[in-house]
Symmetry: C3
Subunit: 206 residues, 3 copies
Amino acid sequence: MRLRLTPRDTTFFDMLATLAQHNVTGASLLAELLGAPRSERDAIVHKLSEAEHVADDATHSIMRRLNQTFVTPFDRNDIYGLASALDDCMDAMEEAGDLIVLYKVDQLPLRVSEQVQVLQRCAELTAEAMPRLRSMDQLADYWVEINRLENQGDKLHRKLIAQMFDDTTDPVLLMKLKEIVDMLEEAADAFERVANMVEAIALKES
Amino acid sequence: MRLRLTPRDTTFFDMLATLAQHNVTGASLLAELLGAPRSERDAIVHKLSEAEHVADDATHSIMRRLNQTFVTPFDRNDIYGLASALDDCMDAMEEAGDLIVLYKVDQLPLRVSEQVQVLQRCAELTAEAMPRLRSMDQLADYWVEINRLENQGDKLHRKLIAQMFDDTTDPVLLMKLKEIVDMLEEAADAFERVANMVEAIALKES
Amino acid sequence: MRLRLTPRDTTFFDMLATLAQHNVTGASLLAELLGAPRSERDAIVHKLSEAEHVADDATHSIMRRLNQTFVTPFDRNDIYGLASALDDCMDAMEEAGDLIVLYKVDQLPLRVSEQVQVLQRCAELTAEAMPRLRSMDQLADYWVEINRLENQGDKLHRKLIAQMFDDTTDPVLLMKLKEIVDMLEEAADAFERVANMVEAIALKES
């Protein structure tokens, strides 16, 4: 338990907001990748990979600052956890993009773009919510909506896999597609973990 | 660190016990699904999905009450974690049931029913243990037995997959079966996580 | 918050170091397994499974001691978490070894041995770092290097899968290989989780 004798360092809110903003970039690049002709995919995945490195650096800056700061705006383990969880979203999105190119998949099922739309919405809502951690205000709307989106994404994901099992006769292609689609679902789960963490922090701090 | 000036709210024990009881219902419905003719499966999965919604509501009631309660019987993060972990068990069981219908799997390997028996036993033991959180008494028996069951389930799961690789020649069917069997193993893991969490809480509070 | 009126029990450092040492044994046995003729595999996997049991016992000894000790060298939940995370590394390595035998895989892709080399290096670095928890000294080198290794392992893993998709025409063999290779990647992730946990502990205690 740390005494609050000095003003709290509020830079962490800005740093978390910046990190969350990288996820918005990542989700947009994924959407761009889906619509791109095969010749442009490498370049987009390269940008996605760069965005992932930038997010990694942003995460480590938060860790380093935590290390140097005596008084944090809320529990330092929670800041640590939140930064890691935001970084997990980017990692999953980058891996999904990378697999599309690595596996040389020509055509993704149409509804994969719906999955990516869910991710874009999750990323935007999360980036909008981070600055509100400062006041712990109006955060419930955010985590309720993310949970709703994740539920919707989960249903979509199951139906998409079932449909792929019906439509795709080549088992190797099926394995490739399934792994990409599963990784996109993992990204949605990661956004949900961020929201659950924010909910737990709000519970504790309120 | 909260001072205990007022009597602690013990309703949480009842709420966790109720939530754990929903998992008993879920595991029974899964067992029923395995034995049912294909024509009755939809109805059983519908019931399972309803049970999952009820468990979701029970989980959120716990979260809301945590939000309104100043003095909790043990660390509020632990109550939060326990409720989430109990809900994870139900989610995995519901997903396994849903996949059986979605993937239109006619015949599951016989030993899948052994996996579901392990889940039923885990669910019962967990539901019996929750009220004992009140006194932190005789909980070691519970977590030791769950760990034993999960180990047994894990061995069963590996052998089942190996046997499926030997017996099933259709790779697409194999992928479907593997995902269902893996999801049942995930449910067993979720029950183990609940038990590990109870062990950690007992360590802290003792 | 526990007052430090009595000398802290420093046995925990030795116990965590012993547990980490079992992972070095596990990783060596995995490396031995890859190079062994099929007739010797059962015996090596048997040794690996015994090493896993010994690690399990070591983990539970830590839990029991935590239960009996009033003053711990750092937060008891963190000791608990660290012991569990070290045990997870062993579990994943043992499962990978077991699957190689259970699935009767004759020939693994050559680069699997690179994955196992990464695991051996992770296990060694982790075992060397555990005693340094006593002074919380020079730990940053350890977690930075583990993160680098895990990144390298992750890239290797993705390329290995992509290559398997290109080279292996039998989908059932592909499923078997993929599961083994994924389990090795899971072991690397488990070592990274240990390192992240050490980083978080160092942040808190510094």
